[in-house]
């Protein structure tokens, strides 16, 4: 397998790493901005404006999280009257109709994951600001989990989309997407953008002097 070349990081060795193709380059002559000689992607030691971009996306996501949960994501019009479903009432519906497993699944991906994701990114961004060198391994692991599970929050959007496409019985029942769906979809996209803007190498940069 792989052996350690040195205790060095690429940036300490004065090397630039291509985020796209993985090529490690030694900057020789600077002509304008650095670009990867193999694939042409712009090179920087760390993601550009990582923290400020993370903050921007994160704050936007947190603001939209409120209408995403208060506004209905789905509106049902049937012979028996009109009904509006928020994310939470969708969970309650599954729970009371006997599908506790599904209720749990939707609760986790639609409510728990976005909350934990925003909370985790908040903690990570603050800890990097403070240049904390505490529990680096745990924070790196947290980031990896957050980045991997975030996409599953789109689940409810797809459920609504299919219900709208399927339940179009003009006289009996029609389902529409509610205004909350757009807000919720935006929250998911914004938290994904926030996670992608965050550079996990910043977590490790804070411990470059001491050993762990």
């Amino acid at each position: 397998m792989t052996k350690v070349a040195s205790a060095l990081s690429a940036s300490q060795a004065g090397l630039l790493v291509c985020p796209c193709c993985g090529l490690v380059c030694r900057p020789a002559v600077r002509i304008g901005a650095w670009a990867c000689p193999r694939c042409g992607t712009a090179l920087a030691s760390r993601k550009t404006d990582s923290l400020s971009r993370t903050w921007a996306f994160l704050i936007a996501a947190m603001l939209l999280y409120i209408p995403a949960n208060l506004l209905p994501v789905m509106e049902t019009a049937s012979l028996f009257g009109a009904e509006e479903d928020t994310i939470l009432s969708g969970v309650v519906y599954f729970w009371t109709s006997g599908s506790q497993g599904l209720a749990t699944l939707i609760f986790v991906v639609s409510i728990l994951v976005p909350l934990l994701k925003m909370g985790t990114l908040l903690v990570l961004a603050v800890s990097v600001h403070l240049r904390s060198s505490h529990s680096v391994h745990q924070r790196a692991l947290l980031f990896r989990i957050v980045e991997a599970v975030g996409r599953w929050s789109m689940l409810d959007i797809f459920v609504v989309a299919l219900m709208v496409g399927l339940v179009q019985f003009r006289t009996l029942a029609v389902i529409h997407a509610g205004p909350g769906a757009a807000a919720f979809g935006s929250v998911v996209v914004l938290t994904m953008l926030a996670a992608r803007s965050f550079d996990p190498r910043l977590i490790w940069d804070c411990i470059k002097d001491d050993h762990d």
Partner: protein, 204 residues
């Protein structure tokens, strides 16, 4: 001083430098500091991947050409395709959601698969580098995180359970096609693309 340091690998998560070592097919090299995967040597050859991508593209066509499910309420039947659902969202002016669903379930996965097709076709004919190879490669790298076929598949199952309380639900051809596509996409995505640069030049 050379511009490329070909034998070095840096961890994408903690930036620790490692020396590149050959590994066996299916094996993965991990970072000694944080445990993140540095690189994976694909189990499949480029030819096998080419076949797999073609299969995935055909499955993708099936999944979008046929209805996902038929719904029956008091003798009235209604069926929905993925594209039909997106059009329904669009016509009721839920543009943002319509675009979001279209991009993550149709557009991005399709571009991803077509780009992979072109990439593996190029690799299969060594000595004839295709113009635009790097562009396609970067395209895949940027778009891949936004393709969400597997999440959509789970969403479909949830919607079916929800509807089965209200009406008679008959799974359509596209439901099975989406199931197969989920598996195929998982295999396609697991191919470490960086190996495309390694394969021709370096003997492992």
């Amino acid at each position: 001083m050379s511009l490329m340091t070909d034998n070095l690998i840096a961890c994408a998560e903690c930036d620790a430098l490692h020396v590149w070592r050959p590994i066996a097919a299916g094996e993965r090299a991990r970072c000694v500091r944080c445990g993140n995967v540095l690189y994976r040597r694909p189990r499949m050859t480029s030819d096998q991947m080419l076949a797999l991508v073609v299969g995935a593209l055909l499955t993708f066509l099936l999944a979008n050409a046929y209805p996902i499910v038929d719904l029956e309420v008091q003798g009235i039947r209604n069926s929905a395709t993925l594209l039909g659902s997106i059009v329904a969202l669009w016509t009721e002016e839920r543009w943002l959601i319509a675009i979001l669903v279209f991009a993550t379930t149709i557009l991005f996965p399709l571009i991803d698969l077509l780009s992979m097709l072109a990439l593996f076709l190029t690799v299969a004919r060594p000595g004839r580098p295709m113009i635009g190879f790097t562009t396609l490669y970067r395209f895949v790298w940027v778009l891949r995180p936004w393709g969400m076929i597997e999440v959509f598949m789970l969403g479909t199952l949830v919607a079916l359970v929800k509807l089965s309380h209200l009406a008679h639900v008959v799974p359509g051809v596209a439901l099975w096609a989406f199931g197969a596509l989920t598996v195929l996409m998982a295999v396609v995505v697991s191919f470490d693309l960086r190996w495309l640069w390694v394969e021709p030049g370096r003997s492992a």
